[in-house]
Structures are given as C-alpha cells and as structure tokens.
C-alpha cells in the first residue's frame, strides 16, 4: 500500500513535470511567430524588374565568385607549403600569383553579396524577415567572420614578401590556415541557410514557428551533404578558373620564359581541377541519396520528374569537362619527345571516354511518336532502356574517371623510364588492375541495370566507386615505387604545347561555370512552389518551374556576365604586369 502510494506520488510528480514542460513548450512556440502566409500582393514589383530573374542572377554571380575566392586560398596554402618544404621558389611565386588573381574577385564577391541582400530585402521582404528571425545569430556571426576573413586575406596577401624565410614563413602559413578556416566557416553558415529551405528543421512542421534552437535550424538534414559537395566543387572550380587565367597569360606571352611559366601554371591548375573533379560525382551522389532519404517525393521530382531531362544536359557538360581535361593531358604529352611511346594509345582512351559519354547521354524516357512507341513495344527499349538509369550512369562515370586517370598516368611517364628490375612485371600488374577494375565496374553495372528491381539499382554505386578507388590508389602506389630513381630520357619542355591546348583549359572553365549554374538551378528548383519546403509557400507570380530552355537562358546570361568580369580581370592583370615590367 505504502509502496504504491509512493509510486502514485512519483507518477503525479512526473505528470506535473511533463505538464510544466508542455506549457513551457507551448509558451516557447507562442514566443515565435509562424512562417508568414503570403499573397501575390506581398511581393513588391519595382520598375518592371522580374524579381525572380534578378535575384537568381545576382545569387548565382555571388556563388561563382565566392566559390572561386574560397577555393584559391586552399590550394595556395598547399602550394606555398610545398614550396617551403622543397625550397623551390617557383612554387612560392606561383602561389603568390594565384592569390593575386583572387584579390580582385574577392571585392566583387562582397559586392555581389551586398547586392543579393538588397535584392532579397526589396523583392522578398517577408521571406528575408522570416529567415533572419531564424538565423539571427549566425547572420551576425557571418558579418563578423567576414571582417575576420578580409583581415586575414589582406595580411596574407600583402604580407607575402614581408613574411618570407624561416619563422616568418611559418607565421605566414598560419595566417593562410586561419584564412581558410574562417572562409570555410562562412561557407558553412551560408550553406545552412540554403539547405534549410530544402529540408527545414528546428521549426514547427505545421506552422513554421521557430522552436528555439538555432543549431537545430542550421544542422538540417541536407547541410552536411551540401557542405562536402561544395568544398570539393569549389576546389575543382577554383582550379579551372586559375587554369583559364594561365591560358590567357600563355596565349599573350611573347617570351619563352613566360610561356614556360604559364604552361606550368596551367598544368598545375588543371591537376587541381581534376583532383576536385574526380571525387565530385561521388559527393554529388551522396547529396542526391540524402535528398531521396529526406523526401522521396523531392528525389523523384529531381531525377524522374520535371527536372529529369536536365541531367541529359548535365551529361553534355560533364562530357565536355572530361574531354577537355583528357585533351589537355594528351596535348601536354607533346612537351616530351618520349611521348611517342604512348600516343598510339590515345585513340583508345578517347573512344572509351566518348562511349561513356554516350551512355551518360542516353535518356531513360524517349520522346516518341505513337508509331515509334508501337514499334518499340513501349517507351523503354529492352536493351538500351537500362542505359538511361543509375547503374549505367555510374558505370560510365567510373570508367570515365579511370580513363582520365590513365591519361594522367601515361602523361607522368612520358619523359622517363623505370629502372627497377621488376618494371615489366609492375606494368603488367598495373594493366591487370585496370582491366580487373573496369571489368568489375561493367559487371556490376550490367547486373544491377538489367537484373534487379528499381529499389536495388543504386546498390551498384558503392562497389563501383570502391573499384575505381582501388585502381587509382594501387596504380599510384606501384608507380611511386617503380619510378623511384627512374631515368629521364626526354625532358619536359615547358611552353612547348600547341595553343589549342589552352582553349581546352578555357572550355574547362566555361563548362564548369555553366554546369554550376545549371546544378544550382536544379538544387533550388526542386522546392518548386515553396520558399521553404512545406513550410512557407511561394505565392508570387513567378512561383512556377520554368522549362529547361528558359532556365538555360537565365544561366547563360549570368555565366556570360561572370566570364566577362573574369576575362576583364585577366586583362587588367595583363596591363598591370606590363606596367610593372616597364618600371
């Protein structure tokens, strides 16, 4: 009896505590207003501007410049550290030139960021107010961090020659590290605002009212996948833009020395871009997998709905990227006369890359007439239909990556011969690894593409990626041992490349820019008529999903503005270096 009384009393206390908690929770909810419900009249129309296109273009320009200025300090720091470790001044000079190019872009990034804020305030005031109410602390922190980034960047750049040699160089490297840390945190904050609109968290799912924890709002479902994707993509993108700068300078160089310098700079930039490009499809795969996990509906809208045809466009762009990278490497083989041993293989690599591109390019659903549908027996071809789905796409991208790596491997050995006694056996093992890896990737693609249900089709992805990783890592390990103390037979002559190779670098930068614009549109567009998915509806007159052609025109307009500014910056730097040389 006594025990049961205590139990009842404990139960009563617990219930009371729960009730108090519930009241507190209710009060907390009441503290914060719900997400506003808007009508078309709540969106100011000013001066005939199409507010959606204006905000779209400004946001895209801000993103391109921000990606560039965030990426450059990452590899500048690495190159500077390599220069310090190897005591090779060339690396230090190149790192300095890289950061110099990004300085002009930094101020334009800030201008675009300011313009974006004003555009949102003017054209989407209620959305901006709602987001500000949720992210007030992180937005304030962002402003302070922006000052910290500016300060560290200016000290890093202007103090480059002042902080040279010995301990001072360590101080300089530390400033570079701080710069990168602050820049990355800035990007993480901005990513949280973007991903919140896709996978809102920390708000009441019914009303959108803030629940009190800003960390929950920041740490939403898609935050980390986007963080990883953007860091990797930024590096690849930064490399491609710097590559375009080197190409511009190479084409304008009159002296052999300058051509050699900018050829080397272009080559290094291309390696950085490829270094980012190779893991990028996998980071993208993780992001899309998480989109499906968060909302299958959103995932299907992305891959199987109104946006599905955009992925054919993406295939064209990725194809352009891989072909440019490979073409540049093949042209670069001409720097050494030793390349004659390998040039006969190029046509096979080219054929494989093109075949992979065609597989990626194959749509799943075909646009057919009734007669064609009857002849085909349905919208999907029995054998070619599976080329339109994920296992085939994964197979294509993995083989494309392996072929690009093969081009790089051949490029690395054009000027030398391995002298170790087991060189022939080593090459045979490498060939077997390549063949085994490609064979496994094709087997997995065919098995999952033709013989499994939809729910299991993506199961090929991880073993296929693992096969690619094994091929790359094993080849690099064997190469590093096999070419230790290798004999140089025909030295690389920097600057001895045809001008058309430099246009491959430009194609890389231009394609990357357009691809980022297109994928940015898709990421944002899959919310459809929602400012914040399922929480705050877009009721403006522009709350429709545009056709691919319309989106492509807006992306092109933005990309042309971006490239015009970038080429103008290159041109300015040319004038400034001519003036310096004259002095």
């Amino acid at each position: 009896m006594y025990e049961s009384d205590i139990a009842n009393a404990e139960e009563a206390v617990k219930s009371e505590a729960k009730a108090t908690e519930a009241v507190k929770e209710g009060e907390k909810k009441a503290e914060y207003p719900p997400a506003p419900k808007l009508t078309a009249a709540d969106y100011p129309q000013i001066g005939g501007f199409n507010s959606r296109i204006l905000v779209w273009i400004v946001a895209q320009l801000h993103l391109w410049f921000a990606a560039f200025v965030l990426a450059v300090p990452i590899f500048v720091l690495i190159i500077e550290a390599i220069g310090m470790a190897t005591k090779d001044q060339r690396y230090d000079n190149m790192a300095y030139e890289f950061i110099k190019v990004s300085m002009a872009a930094y101020s334009i990034t800030a201008i675009m960021g300011g313009l974006l804020t004003f555009s949102l305030l003017i054209f989407y005031p209620d959305l901006f107010k709602y987001l500000t109410s949720l992210f007030s602390r992180s937005m304030l922190a962002y402003a302070f961090l922006f000052f910290a980034e500016s300060a560290s960047l200016y000290v890093y750049y202007y103090g480059w020659h002042w902080l040279e040699g010995g301990f001072k160089k360590w101080v300089h490297l530390t400033i570079g590290l701080v710069l990168n840390f602050v820049g990355t945190v800035l990007m993480l904050f901005a990513n949280a605002w973007v991903t919140f609109s896709m996978s809102p968290n920390g708000v009441d799912p019914g009303t959108g009212a803030f629940l009190g924890s800003e960390w929950d709002v920041i740490h939403n479902f898609l935050w980390n996948p986007l963080n990883l994707h953007r860091v990797v993509a930024n590096i690849a993108y930064g490399g491609s833009i710097i590559g375009a700068y080197a190409a511009y300078k190479f084409l304008g160089s009159a002296s052999k020395e300058d051509r050699a310098h900018y050829d080397w700079m272009g080559y290094t930039s291309n390696i950085i871009a490829v270094g980012g490009l190779l893991p990028l499809p996998f980071a993208g795969y993780w992001l899309v997998k998480e989109i499906y996990a968060y909302s299958q509906q959103m995932g299907i809208t992305l891959m199987g709905g109104v946006f599905a045809w955009l992925f054919i466009m993406q295939a064209v762009l990725i194809g352009a990227l891989f072909l440019s990278v490979n073409y540049y490497l093949w042209c670069g083989m001409g720097r050494s006369e030793g390349s004659v041993r390998y040039t006969k293989n190029i046509k096979w690599i080219a054929a494989a890359v093109v075949a992979c591109f065609l597989v990626w390019f194959t749509p799943h659903t075909l646009v057919l007439t009734n007669q064609e549908l009857k002849a085909l027996g349905g919208p999907y071809h029995k054998y070619l239909g599976p080329l339109g789905i994920m296992p085939a796409k994964n197979t294509a991208v993995n083989i494309m990556i392996i072929m690009t790596f093969l081009s790089f491997t051949l490029y690395r050995r054009v000027n030398k011969i391995a002298t170790v006694s087991w060189a022939d056996a080593g090459s045979a093992v490498q060939a077997a690894i390549f063949a085994g890896g490609i064979g496994n990737i094709i087997f997995l693609g065919v098995y999952h593409g033709y013989f499994t249900n939809t729910a299991y089709k993506v199961a090929s992805s991880i073993p296929q990626v693992s096969s690619t990783a094994v091929v790359i890592i094993a080849t690099l390990i064997i190469d590093s041992m096999m070419f230790k103390g290798a004999k140089e037979v025909a030295p690389l002559r920097w600057g001895n490349v045809p001008a058309r190779s430099q246009y491959a670098l430009f194609t890389l930068a231009v394609s990357f820019t357009w691809l980022m614009g297109l994928m940015g549109y898709i990421r944002s567009g899959i919310r459809q008529h929602w400012h914040v998915n399922s929480i705050m509806r877009d009721n403006s007159i522009n709350a429709f999903t545009p056709t691919i052609g319309y989106a492509a025109q807006v992306v092109t307009l933005a990309a042309v503005i971006f490239m015009a500014i970038v080429i103008f910056i290159f041109w300015l730097s040319n004038i400034s270096s001519k003036k310096s040389a004259a002095h």
Binding site: V306, M313, K374, P379, Q528, I548, G549
Partner: protein
C-alpha cells in the same frame, strides 16, 4: 587585345552550344502550375463524383503515382486489379503480425496508411528492417490533403478494387482555412490558357504540351467533328479512343468527368473550337 577578343568569342561560342542544346536538343518539359486550393462542394456531390475526386487527387495533387507506379516500383501498386489492389489487401494487413497500427477496419487501415505510413510497411519497401516507411504524411507538408480528400482517395481505391465503398462523403465538413482563402480562378482568355488551366497537357499531347497518357490531340480536328469533341469534353467516358500512346488501349474513367461543371461557357467554347481547328 586580339587574344582578349578571341577568347571572348570562344567563350560565347561554347555558351551558345550549351544554351542551344538546352533549348533545341532536349524536350521542353513544362511543369504543371502550382496547385491551387479548390473549394469542395461536398454537400452536392454524388458518390460517383466523390470517387472521381479521389481519382483526381490520387493522380494529381496527392502525387501518389510518383512512387506507386509500375515503372519505378518504388512503392507497392495500390490501384491495380485483384491482389494488387490495396483495398483487397487491407483485411490481410490488419491480421499481419508486423502490423502496429490502431485500425480495426479496412477503411481505417487505408486512412491510417496515408496519415501514419509507418504503421505497416510492405516488405522490401521500407528502411530499418521495413519498420520505417519513406512515404510522407499526406495531410502535411507540400502535399497537404484535407480529410475530405483523404476520404475521396479511399473511396477511389475501394471502387477500383471492386470492394464495397464504405467511406461516407463528409457532409457539413467545415471548409478548410486554405479553402476559405482561395479565390476563384480567373477565366482563361485563350484556348492555350484553358489547356494549361485544366491540365489537359498532363495526359494529352496538345499545343505545346507533351502528355503521353491519353490520345494525341495534335490533329484531332482532322478525324473528329465538333459534336464528338463537345461530348468528349463533357462526358469523356461516352466514347473511349481505341489506342493511347504506347499502343495500349485507352482506359475508361481516366479523364475527369467534371470539366463541364468547372469550365466557364467561354472557356468550353474556346477549347472546342481550338480542337476543331487542330488539323
């Protein structure tokens, strides 16, 4: 300067290639306009109309067929025939040892499966050992069906399965907040606007629309006269076309039968005249 211009020209050339392909190389898929809230006149609705509403919600606003279709097989089929039909399976689900819901009748089970999708997860379609369903709660978020719309979907599924329709038309249900806010849509001014407004392109190839479920209407005026076309809009099940895209026979009941009630007189006339002239 020469190099500067050469590079600008090269960049423009590459961009033109991309934008040209995006505009002329791939089909221009036009998405449906954002859904609008419709005021349901439940008091004057017959059961057939209520079932037709369920059909419309199932294939439209509810986005059910995004996953419950025969192509992707991401989710079990619901509106097929025999055992495939969910209304036929419902009594078995209630007896299944893995069932952890509160429903006691098949109708309640269907309602529960839309509002609490993880109450029972069909083997092979869930995560965490088929205990967690990837399906969203249809009364929340971007789908946001009303209780009446959920009931209409149940009526549609029961009718499709051939079992008795047990669900009742909610009478006197208070109009939803959203419905009160909804303003009547502006009448369309051109036949193209009529086609977009009533979503004809979701199923038919017509004008700039590329629907591939119902008959191609691009040249319908060549083979059908005006009175046939009037009847086809007002009473779509009166004449069923033999062949739909893919060579499959067209299915009766696919086209909503209530366009006559929804269109204004001028919209209806504009559409009919447009179809007559589509030669």
């Amino acid at each position: 300067m020469k190099i500067f211009l050469k590079i600008v020209f090269f960049c423009i050339l590459v961009f033109s290639g991309f934008v040209g392909f995006a505009n002329f190389g791939i089909p221009q898929v036009k998405s449906a306009p954002p859904p609008t809230e419709e005021k349901l006149d439940l008091g004057n609705m017959t059961m057939d109309q209520f079932i037709a509403l369920g059909d419309k919600v199932f294939n439209g606003k509810g986005t059910c067929t995004l996953c419950h279709n025969n192509v992707g097989k991401r989710a079990p089929m619901l509106d097929g025939a025999g055992e495939e039909a969910v209304a036929n399976r419902a009594p078995l689900r209630l007896k299944d040892p893995r069932y952890k819901g509160k429903a006691t009748t098949p109708e309640e089970y269907l309602r529960e499966s839309m509002k609490t999708p993880s109450a029972f997860v069909v083997a092979g379609f869930g995560s965490d050992n088929d205990t967690k369903s990837p399906m969203p709660v249809v009364t929340q978020g971007s789908i946001g069906l009303s209780d009446a719309e959920v009931d209409a979907v149940i009526a549609f599924l029961q009718n499709k399965s051939g079992v008795e329709v047990t669900v009742k038309i909610p009478v006197g249900a208070p109009p939803s907040e959203k419905a009160e806010e909804a303003k009547p849509a502006e009448p369309a001014k051109t036949p193209e606007e009529v086609i977009v407004k009533f979503g004809c392109g979701a199923c038919h190839k017509i004008g700039k629309e590329e629907g591939a479920i119902g008959p191609d209407l691009t040249h319908v005026g060549k083979s059908k006269n005006e009175s046939y076309l009037r009847r086809a809009v007002l009473d779509p099940n009166a004449d069923i076309a033999k062949n739909c895209p893919g060579g499959a026979p067209c299915v009766p009941g696919m086209m909503p039968p209530d366009f006559g009630a929804k269109m204004t007189g001028s919209e209806f006339e504009m559409l009919v005249q447009y179809l007559v002239k589509s030669k």
